[in-house]
Symmetry: C2
């Protein structure tokens, strides 16, 4: 019998589900890179399917969305870029400086490949959309992407330290204009600019 | 003892590694949505770690890149959008029509979430970068993204049928101008245009 107590406490959720996602991130990388033979792969797959059956016993019916913590803070557990419970997310840790600069340092592995040995151009777009958008978020008021333009200056390498950073250039009513870039140790690889929109507050 | 024969035959690779990636895709979704208690999660994690150890015994040293098949065709096993061995990839199946139209039908689940219930704007960019780029690929001559511009018209829903499509609007030397969009049953959600570049052929 397994403990079936629902996980409603943040620190407990963090200690239970975050390590699970980390284990699955390792598995994703291995899925691409393993050269194990058919029998070893079949044995591993059987264990994975068994683990999945166990995790399926109690399921949230849809995507997780943004959860509010008892202290009023929100957390996007399932977010495709920063979600700590989402193994697809690298996950990026986003830093906000007092002067408005937003930045994140990370390394992208085999799961984010496009051109051989390099980060998929669309993954660069995914990261930059998120980091530019993060410059415009206000507590309880998420911003949505209006337009996003990316200029690819050179390939972005897999397996090497990368930094994404962005700041708001100007604001016009509900529109915020953000600029930023992705860089490796040799400098900028992709430049981005975006217009982000704060939708009107919903009543209630 | 497990069979450790390397997998060099395409159909055998497909039958061995593709089902593994599919099992891991299911696990990714469950990682986000499970409400299993701490003991059940710990048991599942132990099985996952054991599977990972087994898959680690023989590893390709880096990302997989593009592999050439004996018949000269290429396959991007690890690609972040279409890679059949990459659990991060939905994976999209890309169709090429004789008139140049490229399209793909797919559904994105909880792992691709941005705003609650909707596809992350950056994931829309990831998919559109790939589908626009696919209009410009020529056998043995991959195209690289030069610029990409996205206009977000409304949210793109998770869990519902989506279509991405694109075509080349015009070509100028090494530059190809592609346009396309992402749509749900009610019409276009995101529009995209991109400039893709064919690098000069490398000797050899």
């Amino acid at each position: 019998m397994h403990d079936q107590t629902p996980c409603i406490d943040f620190s407990r959720c963090e200690s239970v589900y975050v390590p699970l996602a980390e284990s699955i991130r390792r598995l994703i990388d291995l899925s691409i890179r393993t050269e194990a033979g058919p029998a070893a792969v079949a044995a591993a797959k059987a264990r994975i399917d068994s683990a999945a059956d166990e995790l399926s016993e109690r399921l949230h019916p849809g995507p997780v969305g943004v959860r509010q913590l008892p202290d009023g803070q929100t957390i996007a557990w399932g977010n495709a870029v920063v979600g700590l419970r989402n193994p697809v997310a690298p996950p990026l840790v986003i830093h906000h400086e007092p002067n408005g600069l937003v930045w994140s340092d990370f390394v992208l592995g085999a799961a984010y490949e496009g051109p051989p040995g390099n980060v998929h151009g669309g993954v660069c777009a995914l990261v930059l959309d998120h980091v530019l958008g993060a410059t415009t978020h206000r507590p309880g008021r998420p911003a949505y992407t209006g337009t996003l333009t990316l200029r690819y200056r050179r390939p972005t390498p897999l397996g090497q330290p990368l930094r994404a950073e962005a700041h708001v250039e100007r604001t016009e009513g509900v529109k915020m204009f953000a600029v930023g870039h992705l860089a490796d140790a040799d400098g900028v690889t992709v430049e981005a600019e975006g217009i982000f929109i704060h939708p009107r507050q919903r009543p209630g």
